[in-house]
């Protein structure tokens, strides 16, 4: 039980000392020098006591990344000044959870927001027996419910621990869905990832609880490069929840994570994200650059991967959780809500690659833009030549609030099999004056009305979220649109 107590203590310590997301926890970070070069990669690997093969893999990634310096993706509908990759720290490990600085340093506005949100970090254990693997900056500090999971045979730990304890599994699957050469940010992540979660659900096991990880970006100028690997063996099931928050800062911070999912025969993975990284202020100062590669492989027949995301934070979101539907009869799902307000930019969507026969995919995307924000849905549906009888249905709806924002829909549909069927529908609209009048006549404020109408607009996605997340997400929807009307 000591692991559980440790986590509880750690989490409670955070709460008692007033950590409310917007707080810079004062941890004596064991930090690598600024900048990125081969030595830093070696430093990270050595610090974590990694085996030779992993160091070699990191170095291959680093060398490729170095050659690709000019190939940072430019196709997304987002704009930002060039990132100086040499002006950041790539490793910072907390030695201990230590005294935080005073509350005075925190923007009261932000604190009030989190107060209203009341994301129940310490309550999570009580709620429905959620296991928390809190990623503190880059290194996992605690894991709970280990015993119960172990009893079921589920392996849930930090990826560093997995490298140490289950090297064969990690070696076999790491990079097998998102190869180190996949894209600029994935390559960077492969070279410098510091921690993240690892899950292995053995054959026939239904994971007894929702697995949950809270990521937070903490140290100033530290990019967060987590790497998550989830393997669901034949006939197993797991639901994984990821919540993200970050303290506010004036400068932009880079978050380039990689998530790999593997589902074998008849296995199912449900991956849910509620992302409210710091979005920057009203003028677009500060905020997270969230450049994330998430992909799942439905390797086995009748396997299923379902992505649900509620993206309300980050200054820029660049994210396309995807499914490779290799196994016959496999199923991919993508349910997304992306809310952008003020100067936020989001370019997000999915790729559904139908390889096997009778594969099915569903895409439901709800984009909401307010303020001066720009929100883009970008999605690819590809029916390969062998994907007989494959089916896709896509529905993309955009809602605009205010006249200075933008909403864009860019679907790519590629069909190489005549028995495959693809349907795509998209709409863009605004909240009607009639709807606002109706709600306000019933006593709701303009903001309550917007929150209500937007929650209704997002309903098909919200109902895909696990209970604990759904409530939080609904509140987030309202909060992230504050100030967008009136």
């Amino acid at each position: 039980m000591s692991a559980v107590n440790d986590t509880t203590d750690a989490v409670e310590a955070l709460n008692e000392t007033g950590y409310k997301y917007g707080f810079v926890t004062d941890i004596e970070a064991d930090t690598a020098p600024k900048g990125l070069n081969e030595d830093i990669v070696r430093f990270i690997s050595a610090k974590k006591g990694e085996p030779e093969w992993l160091l070699e893999w990191r170095l291959k990634a680093y060398r490729l990344w170095e050659r690709q310096q000019d190939e940072e993706p430019g196709w997304a509908k987002v704009s930002y000044p060039p990132i100086d990759y040499q002006d950041a720290y790539y490793y910072s490990a907390p030695k201990s959870v230590d005294r935080p600085k005073s509350l005075d340093e925190v923007d009261p506005e932000l604190l009030a927001t989190y107060e209203k949100l009341g994301i129940p970090l310490h309550e999570q254990e009580m709620l429905a027996g959620v296991a928390v693997d809190a990623v503190f900056d880059s290194v996992s500090v605690a894991t709970t419910f280990k015993e119960e999971l172990e009893k079921a045979g589920v392996l849930f730990c930090s990826i560093s621990e997995a490298v140490e304890k289950y090297p064969e599994l990690v070696r076999r699957y790491l990079g097998s869905v998102v190869p180190y050469s996949d894209n600029f940010y994935a390559t960077l992540n492969s070279a410098v990832f510091t921690d993240g979660s690892f899950v292995y659900v053995p054959e026939g096991v239904r994971c007894p609880m929702e697995l949950s990880t809270y990521f937070r970006i903490n140290a100033a100028n530290t990019g967060q490069f987590e790497r998550t690997l989830i393997i669901a063996d034949a006939g197993s099931y797991v639901s994984y929840l990821e919540g993200c928050t970050a303290p506010m800062r004036d400068e932009h911070q880079l978050h380039a994570a990689v998530v790999e999912l593997v589902a074998l025969d008849d296995a199912e993975i449900k991956y849910s994200t509620v992302q409210n990284w710091y979005p920057g202020d009203e003028e677009g100062r500060g905020g997270i650059y969230n450049f994330v590669t998430k992909r799942g492989a439905c390797r086995g027949i009748r396997s299923k991967i379902s992505w649900t995301q509620v993206e309300t934070g980050s200054a820029i979101t660049w994210k396309y959780p995807s499914c490779i539907l290799q196994g016959d009869h496999s199923v991919g799902e993508f349910y997304s809500i992306a809310i952008t307000n003020n100067r936020q930019q989001a370019d997000t969507g999915t790729k559904m690659l139908h390889v096997g026969r009778n594969t099915r995919s569903t895409i439901i995307s709800k984009g909401i833009s307010a303020g001066r924000a720009q929100s883009t849905y970008r999605g690819l549906v590809r029916m390969q030549g062998k994907a007989g009888n494959a089916r896709n249905f896509t529905q993309c709806d955009s809602l605009l609030i205010g006249d200075r924002c933008g909403a864009h829909t860019v679907p790519y549909i590629e069909v190489k099999n005549r028995s495959a069927k693809v349907e795509h529908e998209a709409t863009t609209s605004k909240i009607s004056d009639d709807q606002m009048m109706y709600c306000r006549q019933r006593g709701m404020s303009a903001e309550e009305a917007v929150a209500l109408i937007v929650n209704g607009f997002c309903k098909e996605v919200l109902q895909e979220l696990p209970m604990e997340f759904a409530v939080e997400a609904q509140k987030l929807v309202g909060l992230s649109l504050e100030g967008s009307v009136g």
Binding site: G406, N417, S429
Partner: protein
């Protein structure tokens, strides 16, 4: 910005481009100082940007690599068999007002037929227009030219040979269609760069029917650019049938601007050419402008057919409708890219788009990218896209009523595209379309029977 990135470019070494000075001297308007300079600038622009590779977003699905290797020259005046009869080639039907025939990109006076002289209507070849009314043509030609990143448009400007200039005065109504026929008949790989201009004055009405055909044995490249200016309250109907020979590259650009309450109705049938791309951009620049683009694409064998549209709602209250349907057989490759873009001040626009494709074979491929780019909040806009095969149940139903498999198949294919054809108001043109579709279907059926 990324001009330096050569992976985004295909360098072509077309002989006629190398011989620009020599060729330009023989092109219409040679000696007009502004035009000579414009041609020169456009050539420089083409050399600078080069042809787009599939790394360029707008060309993601249409690969010009093989095209760029073809040693195209420019068509020589007078080439082509004078005995070839082009009378029946046009889609305009017997009651066309004027018929202008362009052979290998040059005006063919012998095959053309001038209609009656009409109040308020001027129809000239570009060469003639540059001689007689250069001041009318100049602002339009100059306006289209400085566009960035438009290699084919730049090349057209540098080498525009001839084309049709139609000017309709304010308030004039031209009740019978003007017919344009672009024919190619060459013995070696040649290129033609027609440039057309249609200016419809305030409150005027005009219809055009444009047909592209090819006869000769050689590969050729048709690179037409058509500019349509729809003034306030004017109405333009623009029909186009692309049935070039299978050895053709047809890379066409249509640019339309609409002033307030202007309407533009376009119908496109793309059935010919080995590789074709018909690009239409319509800018709704006045309040209450209305644009409708419909089309059909049919392809088989190794044909590649690309329809790329972009509708820009730049002013409030405009409406646009697009409906494109395609049928793909053999190893053909269809591309539909349709963008609806709404500018920040263009409130209350109403933009809708639908694209559906029927795949008849397992080797055919459709890539479709319906794209909404919205910067205004009071918007009603939607798009849809679907791809699939003939419905087996429907086919079964028809066969149970006595149709054989092939008949059932043809009935269902026709039913699939009927929605688009039936929206065509002009009867002669609709008949022409139906005949073309019949021809395509029977060829398709025959090919199926012989197993090719």
């Amino acid at each position: 910005m990324r001009v330096q990135d050569m992976s985004r470019r295909i360098t072509a070494e077309f002989p006629f481009v190398e011989r620009f000075d020599e060729v330009a001297a023989g092109l219409p308007g040679a000696g007009l100082h502004w035009l000579d300079a414009l041609r020169r600038d456009s050539l420089d622009a083409f050399n600078r940007v080069a042809l787009p590779s599939t790394r360029v977003e707008a060309w993601k699905y249409t690969n010009l690599k093989d095209f760029a290797k073809t040693p195209f020259d420019i068509a020589v005046s007078g080439e082509g068999d004078p005995s070839v009869d082009l009378d029946g080639a046009g889609a305009g039907g017997p009651d066309a007002e004027h018929r202008l025939v362009f052979l290998n990109g040059r005006f063919d006076a012998g095959r053309s037929r001038a209609g009656s002289v009409r109040e308020g209507l001027t129809v000239l070849s570009l060469g003639e227009a540059l001689r007689r009314q250069a001041q009318v043509v100049r602002p339009h030609i100059e306006r289209l030219s400085p566009l960035e990143d438009e290699a084919l448009l730049a090349l057209n400007t540098a080498f525009m040979m001839d084309g049709c200039v139609v000017v309709v005065d304010d308030g004039a109504t031209v009740d019978r269609p003007i017919e344009l026929i672009f024919a190619s008949d060459t013995r070696s790989p040649t290129s033609a760069h027609p440039r057309n201009l249609v200016v419809a004055g305030a409150g005027s009405r005009v219809a055009l029917t444009e047909t592209h055909v090819g006869i000769g044995p050689s590969e050729y490249w048709s690179n037409p650019v058509t500019e349509v200016v729809v003034a306030a309250g004017a109405s333009v109907v623009h029909r186009k049938v692309q049935r070039e020979s299978p050895r053709a590259y047809h890379l066409a650009n249509t640019r339309v601007t609409l002033a307030e309450r202007g309407t533009y109705r376009a119908f496109l049938m793309s059935v010919g050419a080995g590789l074709s791309r018909c690009e239409i951009e319509a800018r709704l620049e006045g309040e209450g402008a209305d644009c409708r683009l419909d089309g059909i694409y049919l392809a088989r064998d190794r044909q590649h057919t690309d329809i790329t549209t972009r509708i820009v709602h730049a002013e409030p209250g405009g409406s646009s409708r697009q409906l494109f349907k395609g049928v793909l057989d053999g190893r053909s490759h269809g591309v539909f890219q349709g963008q609806i873009s709404v500018s920040p001040d263009a409130q209350r626009p109403d933009g809708h788009q639908l694209n559906k494709t029927l795949l008849l074979s397992n080797e055919a491929e459709i890539d479709t990218k319906p794209d909404l780019e919205i910067y205004a909040d009071d918007v009603k806009s939607s798009h849809g896209a679907a791809a699939g095969q003939l419905d087996e149940l429907e086919s079964f139903y028809l066969r149970s009523r006595g149709l054989d498999a092939e008949e059932a198949r043809q009935v269902l294919i026709r039913a699939f595209i009927a929605e688009v054809v039936e929206a065509v108001e002009d009867e002669p043109f609709r008949n022409h379309l139906n005949a073309s579709i019949d021809g395509w279907l029977s060829h398709e059926a025959a090919a199926r029977e012989t197993g090719t």
